[in-house]
Amino acid sequence: MEEEVNKHTISVLVDNETGVLARVIGLFSGRGYNIESLTVAEVDKRNSVSRITVVTSGTPMIIEQIKAQLSRLVPVHKVSDHTGEGPHVERELALIKVACSGEKRVESLRIADIFRARVVDSTNRSFVFEITGATEKLEAVIKLMMPLGLVEVSRTGVVAIARGEKPI
């Protein structure tokens, strides 16, 4: 009985206390779950709450376990599986460094324009582009920039939020 493995984007609200990120990451490594991307930042200063977004993959049974395991950690307020719970927005930001000259330089600008990437740094021999979007869009740009002199990529990992008026 092989069940289908799917990618899930999960948001976790946690108390911003020492070791909380290690607790979450340790849970994933200790129990053999995947982490495809991970982001974390404080989102509520007054109550000292951070939001961790994890992209993971697994069978429905594993995903259910991951959610239950996360929920039972003491400093965790809320766990939300965006993929399982309905419409949501996912975004990722990348900074892409392309070192090139001549026709390739023009071409890289053209591609950046198509994907609405912004130039945030420039020298005679390079650009740094900033691009925001879904993971697939970022990957498309990176793929196109590769033959043009792509030398470095820095990505934030996915953040996500549910559509509609209701908070997490």
């Binding site: 009985m1 108390d15 020492t18 070791g19 290690a22 607790r23 340790g26 200790g30 049974m61 259910e64 376990q65 239950a68 395991q69 929920s71 039972r72 950690l73 003491v74 400093p75 965790v76 307020h77």
Partner: protein, 586 residues
């Protein structure tokens, strides 16, 4: 420091007293000297000095499991904390409420590789339910109270509080009182009414039902055992216990069909295999219970009651999960059952019992008796017969003797059987017995042991003797690490690599060297005599029972096999050789 201020150490002790703690298990060292100094100057809390920190945690576990209270441990930084790790992991696996206070180097030295420094919160994060590093004296009291709450509520577990030495010496006003609410952590106790309704309907319609009950029943408290017994008797269904659940339902009740799992009874395992409704109560479908997952109870609807959502659908998909406290949910089910004037399908259940009685007719725990050599099962049967009228607390080490103890020592009440179930920690039984005896000074406490396991924490004999704890250590001595040897026999062609102990001590003299009493039985007709003498001795006793070296523990489900593929005895060969897949599961 003004008058209203207390030192960190005094705050620690004040919290313990406020939490109703009257005994702690520990071992001093540099980083916790301030606490020991404060302990010296008070009388409310008794400190039991163990001989190694690992023993302190097991003793606290024994204390906690036999009382239902939180067991408290105090150890120093570095090696004190790392020695406690096995016990903490053991408590996590078996859901035992323990608060472990660890010393730490002063905050300004943390991360400096200071003397006896270890990253205690880092090391213990995966082996505790939660842990804390106290970085400010103002947090100290709140964190300690919270530690007790987290350890004892929901699914219980161990909690570490790491205490830097400068915090212990600083001063603050103690204001926080016992807290019961936490910002985020709130375990769910009551089952959803519609789930209760569905459970009642499933129970009423069951034709081949079984109650499969585990440690959650014990952990939920004595009421849960009473309610379980009430529900089982009301329905007339058979009941099996996991190793952790033994005593949760009376072991001599006619509706009890023995332990389930790898060394469970033939009838319990076959009933699990053939049932149509399984009611899992505080049990987590552990691999020692389920055997081959794909063939685990293939035709049944499964109800699972558990306080921990992660226990649901982890190994086995269940049809009706009920998240809540076992006692609370059982009460809800019984109430609904009575309100609805529900009835079971008596005719079908009667037929089911006929099948179970036929399986029981196989007498799966039978063994070949001998006049010349002591069979380990015989020794345990005699121990049971000669002590069953008393309120006995049993602890065990890990191995064959543990399984025989579970099979032959029938437990009538909860909190009477302390064994390392999940982690399988050899060396657990003696320190656990010490913790039990501290909690119940007048009770009969017996550690059923093997000669290999007992040597893992034999130093705690010194603790038992210091506090005049009359624990009885009943060693089934076969000179082998018997359970490992049994697997080598079954799976590795009888190549007994390193499982024979060639230089065992003389356990009688060993006992005497600790100023305890040592006894030995070598022939079957000596067994009753040494047991009587052991019971008549009001001091720690080691009984060295020299048993059949090659006896194996049956029945047995070879790893990777299903419940209906049990081996019943030495002449019973597995239908198919154990697969490679099975071998990795040993």
């Amino acid at each position: 420091m003004d008058d209203a201020q207390l030192t960190g150490s005094e705050i620690v002790l004040k919290v313990l007293v406020d939490q109703g703690v009257d005994v702690i298990f520990g071992y001093p060292g540099g980083a916790v000297l301030p606490i020991y100094d404060a302990l010296y100057q008070q009388v409310a809390i008794r400190h039991i000095l163990v001989r190694q920190e690992g023993g302190a945690v097991h003793a606290a576990e024994g204390y906690a499991r036999s009382t239902g209270k939180v067991g408290v441990v105090l150890v120093t930084s570095g090696p004190g904390a790392t020695n406690a790790v096995t016990g903490l992991t053991d408590a996590l696996m078996d859901s035992i409420p323990v608060v472990c206070l660890t010393g730490q180097v002063p905050t300004h030295l943390i991360g400096n590789d200071a003397f006896q420094e270890a990253d205690t919160t880092g090391i213990t994060r995966p082996c505790t339910k939660h842990n804390y590093l106290v970085k400010s004296i103002d947090d100290l009291a709140r964190v300690l109270h919270e530690a007790f709450y987290v350890a004892s509520s929901g699914r219980p577990g161990p909690v570490v509080v790491d205490l830097p030495k400068d915090i212990l010496q600083a001063g603050a006003v103690y204001t926080t009182s016992r807290q019961t609410k936490h910002k985020t952590y709130r375990p769910k106790l009551k089952g959803e009414p519609d789930q209760i309704e569905k459970a009642v309907r499933l129970i009423a319609g069951a034709k081949r039902p079984i109650f499969y009950t585990g440690g959650g029943v014990i952990n939920s408290g004595p009421a849960a055992s009473r309610l379980l017994t009430q529900l089982v008797r009301m329905t007339g269904f058979p009941c099996t216990n996991t190793l952790m659940g033994l005593g949760g339902f009376p072991g001599t009740d006619p509706q009890f069909i023995g332990m389930v799992g790898m060394h469970g009874t033939y009838e319990a395992n076959l009933a699990m295999y053939h049932c149509d409704v399984m009611i899992a109560v505080g049990a987590r479908f552990d691999d020692r219970v389920t055997g081959k997952l794909s063939e685990f109870s293939p035709g049944s609807k499964k109800i699972q009651i558990d306080i921990d959502p992660t226990s649901i659908n982890k190994n086995v998909m269940v049809d009706l999960p009920i998240i809540g406290d076992v006692g609370t949910v059982l009460r809800q089910i019984i109430k609904r059952w009575k309100e609805g004037e529900c009835r079971t399908d008596e005719k079908a259940v009667g037929k089911w019992w006929k099948r179970i009685r036929a399986w029981q007719g196989r007498d799966c725990l039978a063994y070949e008796m001998s006049d010349t050599i002591i069979k380990p099962q015989f020794a345990l049967q005699r121990l049971y017969e000669l002590t069953k009228k008393r309120d006995v607390y049993i602890t065990t080490e890990v191995g064959q003797h543990q399984m025989w103890a579970a099979q032959f020592y029938k437990l009538e009440k909860p909190k009477r059987f302390m064994t390392s179930g999940g982690l399988g920690t050899m060396g657990y039984g003696l320190p656990a017995a010490i913790g039990v005896q501290i909690a119940h000074p007048d009770a009969l406490v017996i550690d059923i042991a093997g000669e290999a396991s007992i040597l893992m924490n034999i130093q705690e004999m010194s603790t038992a003797c210091q506090y005049r704890l009359p624990v009885k250590i009943f060693i089934l001595n076969n000179q082998y690490m018997g359970m490992v040897r049994q697997w080598q026999e079954l799976l590795y062609g009888g190549r007994y690599a390193e499982t024979y102990t060639a230089a065992l001590p003389d356990f009688v003299k060993l006992a005497e060297s600790f100023y305890a009493v040592g006894l030995r039985a070598e022939k079957p007709d000596e067994v009753d005599g040494v047991i009587s003498e052991m019971l008549a001795t009001d001091r720690p006793v080691i009984v060295d029972v020299v048993v059949d070296q090659m006896e194996n523990c049956f029945p047995m489900i070879p790893s990777g096999a299903a419940h209906n593929e049990m081996l019943l005895g030495p002449d019973d060969k597995a239908k198919t050789p154990v697969s490679e897949e099975g071998m990795v599961l040993v």
